[in-house]
C-alpha cells in the first residue's frame, strides 16, 4: 500500500478536529470562526466563539500584528503569539496552516509557559487537554518541584539553626554564659574598627578577682564555680545590653564599654562592679567574700587603637590596682609609666 501524497486531502469532521486538537480554530476565508475546539470555546466564553470574527476576538502580537485575513494567511507556518481581546486577555502561542479548496485556515493554539494561570483562570481539568498534551505533566512537575523545594527549605532552616547554635556555643564561656576569649577578640576588633573610623570610642576594663584562689582552695571548686556565676551576674547587672562582658581566664574578665566614656564614668561603673563583688556570697551555707581589681583604658588615648596595646595597658593598670591594695580601679594614662608588671607577688 502506498503512503499518502503530500497534497492528499484529509477529510475530518469539525467535531473530530476539536477532539483531536481541543485548542484549535477553523477560520473561513471571510474571517469568520467556523468551528472551535471545546477547550478553546470554553476559554473564549461566555460569548459563543463560533460565528465571531477571528480578528475581533484575537489579537496577534508576534511575529507581527495582522489587520486583515490576508495578513493572517501570510503568517502560515510561523510561530505565533496571540491573545484574547476580551475578558482575561489569555495569551496563547500557536501556528496556522491554510486549508485546501479555499476553505480558510486552521489555527492550533496552546497556553505556552503561562499555562498555570490559564488553567486556574478557566478551571480547566485534564479532560480539557488532548492525551498527547504534556500540559498536565508540566503542572504536576511544577507542584512536585515545589514539594521538594519546601523540603529543601526546611532542611536549610534546620541547618541554619544548628549553625547558629554551634556559633553561639563557640563564642560562649560554658560555665558563666558570658562571652569567651574568641568572642572578646571579635568584639574588640569591631570596637577598634569603629573607633579607627572615628565613629565612636570605647573603654576597656580588665577585671581580676581578689581572694578567689582562697575560695577555691578552702571551699573547693564547686564553691569556686558558684562564685564565678555570681560574678557573671554582677557584671551583667552593672553593664548595658550592648557592652561586651567576657571571661578570658579562670578568674579574669574583660568588659568593653562602647561610646564616649570619661574617667568619671569608668570609675562609677568600676565602683559598682566592685561593690557587687564584695557582697557576701552564700556558698552552701558558708559566706564567701571576694573582691576585684580593675585596670581600664580608653580608645581615645591612642592615635590608632590597637588590641594588643590596649589589653597590655589595661593589664598594667590592673596590676597597679593590685599593688595599691586591691578592690579598686586604675585608669591607664598615656605618658605615665605604670610600674612594670611583676605579676606573681601581687596577683589573686
Amino acid at each position: 500500500m502506498d503512503g499518502a501524497r503530500p497534497d492528499d486531502p484529509v477529510v475530518l469532521a469539525a467535531a473530530d478536529l476539536g477532539r483531536l486538537m481541543p485548542l484549535s480554530l477553523w477560520v473561513v476565508p471571510d474571517g469568520q470562526i467556523r468551528a472551535a475546539g471545546p477547550t478553546l470555546a470554553r476559554v473564549c466564553g461566555p460569548d459563543p466563539i463560533e460565528g465571531a470574527r477571528f480578528l475581533d476576538r484575537f489579537e496577534l502580537t508576534r511575529p507581527r500584528s495582522a489587520a486583515t485575513m490576508e495578513e493572517v494567511r501570510r503568517l502560515a507556518g510561523q510561530r505565533l503569539q496571540l491573545r484574547l481581546r476580551q475578558g482575561a486577555r489569555t495569551a496563547f502561542r500557536g501556528h496556522l496552516v491554510a486549508l485546501r479548496e479555499d476553505r480558510g485556515i486552521l489555527v492550533n493554539l496552546s497556553f505556552g509557559i503561562a499555562v498555570a494561570e490559564a488553567v486556574r483562570e478557566h478551571r480547566l481539568t485534564s479532560a480539557d487537554f488532548a492525551p498527547t498534551d504534556l500540559t498536565v505533566e508540566l503542572l504536576y512537575l511544577t507542584e512536585a518541584k515545589a514539594v521538594v523545594m519546601d523540603e529543601l527549605a526546611a532542611l536549610n532552616r534546620r541547618l541554619r539553626a544548628a549553625r547558629s547554635a554551634a556559633e553561639t556555643q563557640a563564642m560562649t564561656d560554658a560555665l558563666t554564659g558570658l562571652a569567651n576569649r574568641r568572642a572578646l577578640d571579635a568584639a574588640l576588633a569591631r570596637a577598634i574598627e569603629a573607633a579607627a573610623r572615628g565613629r565612636r570610642g570605647f573603654a576597656l576594663l580588665h577585671l581580676d578577682l581578689d581572694l578567689f584562689k582562697r575560695v577555691n582552695d578552702t571551699l573547693g571548686h564547686a564553691a569556686g564555680d558558684l562564685v564565678l556565676l555570681r560574678v557573671a551576674e554582677v557584671l551583667r547587672a552593672e553593664t548595658r545590653k550592648h557592652d561586651t562582658v567576657a571571661r578570658v581566664g579562670g578568674d579574669e574578665f574583660v568588659v568593653i564599654l562602647p561610646g564616649q566614656v570619661d574617667a568619671g564614668q569608668i570609675d562609677a561603673v568600676a565602683a559598682r562592679i566592685i561593690a557587687g563583688l564584695e557582697a557576701p556570697i552564700d556558698c552552701a551555707g558558708k559566706p564567701c567574700r571576694i573582691s576585684g581589681s580593675i585596670g581600664a583604658t580608653v580608645s581615645s588615648h591612642y592615635a590608632v587603637p590597637d588590641a594588643e596595646a590596649m589589653l597590655g595597658d589595661a593589664d598594667a593598670a590592673l596590676y597597679a590596682s593590685k599593688r595599691l591594695g586591691r578592690g579598686r580601679c586604675t585608669l591607664f594614662r598615656p605618658g605615665t609609666r605604670l610600674p612594670a608588671d611583676k605579676r606573681k607577688p601581687g596577683r589573686d
Partner: protein, 193 residues
C-alpha cells in the same frame, strides 16, 4: 532507602502517635530522634529497624503500619494533589499507576519506587503488582489505593495479597466509581500560596 520514604514513616509516626512515640521508636531502632533528612539516602537496614521498633512499640503488625503510612500520605495535601494528577476518575488514576515511578523520577531523580503494573483481572477487578527489592511497598500502596478511592468518591475493595519473592500484589475491586462526591481537585492551585 531514600530519605523521603524514611521521612514519610517518621512523619506518620510523629503526627499519628506523637513526638514522644517517634523519639522512642528512633531510640529503640538505634537511630537519631532528630530524624531523617528528606534528600539523603539511608541504608535499607535503618528503615527495617525503624519499622520493626514501631511495630513492637505500638503492638501492631508491620503490614498494618505500612498500610496506615499509605493512608497517611494521601492525607498530606501536596501529596494528595500530586496523586490526583493521575487522572479525572479513580479508574484513570489506577491506570496511571504504571507511570508513577517515572513521574516520581521527574521530580526526585534518585527516588526509586518499585515497578508498578496494573492488570485487569475481570470486570471492575484489577491487580496491582509491585516489584522491587524492598518489601512492604505493596502494603503502602494498599493504603494509598484505599484512601484515594475515598478521595475520588469511589467505592472499592482493596486487599493486599501474599508476597512472592520480590512481587507484592494488591487486589482491587471497583464497586462504584461515583459512590460519593469525593474531594475537590483543581489542576492549578489557587494563586495565593
Amino acid at each position: 532507602m531514600h530519605g523521603l520514604v524514611n521521612r514519610s514513616i517518621q512523619c506518620f509516626l510523629r503526627d499519628t502517635y506523637g513526638p514522644d512515640v517517634w523519639a522512642g521508636v528512633a531510640v529503640d531502632a538505634g537511630f537519631d530522634p532528630q530524624g531523617f533528612e528528606a534528600l539523603e539516602l539511608y541504608d535499607a537496614a535503618v528503615t527495617d529497624a525503624v519499622l520493626f521498633a514501631a511495630a513492637r512499640r505500638l503492638d501492631k503488625p508491620r503490614e498494618v503500619l505500612l498500610e496506615d503510612v499509605g493512608i497517611y500520605l494521601v492525607g498530606v495535601e501536596p501529596l494528595r494533589r500530586l496523586l490526583r494528577f493521575g487522572g479525572e476518575s479513580y479508574e484513570d488514576f489506577l491506570h496511571s499507576l504504571d507511570e508513577l515511578p517515572d513521574r516520581v523520577h521527574l521530580a526526585v531523580s534518585d527516588l526509586e519506587l518499585p515497578a508498578l503494573a496494573l492488570d485487569a483481572t475481570g470486570p471492575s477487578r484489577y491487580r496491582l503488582c509491585c516489584v522491587g527489592p524492598q518489601p512492604g511497598f505493596g502494603f503502602v500502596f494498599a493504603g494509598i489505593l484505599r484512601a484515594m478511592a475515598d478521595d475520588y468518591g469511589a467505592l472499592a475493595l482493596i486487599e493486599p495479597g501474599e508476597a512472592a519473592g520480590e512481587l507484592e500484589t494488591v487486589a482491587i475491586e471497583l464497586l462504584d466509581s461515583s459512590f460519593a462526591a469525593g474531594r475537590d481537585f483543581a489542576l492549578a492551585l489557587p494563586e495565593a500560596r
